[in-house]
Point group: C2
Chain length 196, copies 2
């Protein structure tokens, strides 16, 4: 498209980022080369550092630079509760609430048969092994309330229950601060069924 081979290669490489089409990639490449060459170099170094250093926690499978992540190493966390989330971002959202003091298991994904993501890819066997350590008393399923998140919770829940483990799911209901008039019907129905 343009006169410089290295620029075309950069645009192609930027397209490997999720959600970046050819126009965004062009805009990013032009911006970096025209206005922020230092940013381009910083980004290049960060990518190489992250690929070299970041690996998975052997216990909860989240990203970490060590054998165990800081949450798994923290002796003040309640080891009898294990919360299952899809991504580190979901874990971070739960941590921000300061309402949970147990341990986590991060699936690093969700079941998605159409995309070829099966139980093996999200480490269901490893989760069962982790939850069967004799210390975990309750597994809290905190996958998203999307179709894929619900399916994931169902499959994992069945597998854990069949091994005699105590499994719970995050409550569904009306979000704090919302007016019923504007809440979708499915949510209101769930809130009615799960009333307390």
């Amino acid at each position: 498209m343009v006169n410089a081979h290295a620029l075309d290669t950069l645009i192609q490489s930027l397209r490997r980022l999720p959600g970046v089409g050819v126009r965004s990639a062009q805009r990013m490449a032009f911006h970096l080369l025209q206005h922020d060459r230092e940013g381009a170099q910083v980004l290049a170094r960060s990518l190489q550092e992250a690929v070299a250093r970041v690996r998975h926690c052997t216990q909860c499978h989240t990203f970490t630079e060590d054998e165990l992540c800081t949450t798994c190493r923290d002796p003040r966390r309640d080891a009898s509760k294990l919360c299952v989330v899809e991504t580190p971002a979901d874990q971070a959202a739960l941590e921000r609430t300061a309402a949970f003091n147990g341990r986590y298991f991060v699936l690093m994904g969700r079941l998605s048969p159409l995309d070829g993501v099966g139980p093996r890819d999200i480490g269901v066997a490893r989760l069962i092994e982790r939850a069967s350590d004799g210390v975990v008393q309750e597994v809290i399923l905190a996958t998203n309330f999307t179709a894929e998140g619900e399916a994931t919770a169902h499959v994992i829940g069945q597998a854990l229950k069949s091994r005699g483990l105590n499994v719970t799911r995050l409550a569904r209901g009306v979000p704090a601060g919302s007016e019923l008039e504007y809440v979708d019907l499915g949510t209101i129905a769930h809130a009615l069924v799960d009333r307390r």
Copy 2:
């Protein structure tokens, strides 16, 4: 936010890309580390290559890896016509029409006083020097038809005309294939005034 310092650094670096907020940056970093580590390394190398190799054509100021870009080196291009565009992407759009066989001058930006972009930043002096080489007979202003693009065309046009150069502007009018009912009033008014 997360357990790995290198991951946080990567997320911060990705935010330097235009249009990328903290959530997009997280999603990009997770995707690369979880599903496409090779892509991360390819991107890192492309960034370094592009920063090292890509520079500006000494004649038209577009991106190139050589002293002169391929368009400026091409002896079959009509040197008497000089088309002024904002970006290499705009130049590429004009080239795709195959309707122009002259040379280009790429401003690599547009006048934008609010963002601190003045005539010096888009090389107006260099453009005047380029257009005064004695060979250029017509300067075609092909900046965008936005407020900033129009202002840029106005300023450049005045400067070039005051030096006795022949300046034209891309025609405004109704886009091909469109129905008048759905075309905005300003466009229709211009098409009326410029009728032929």
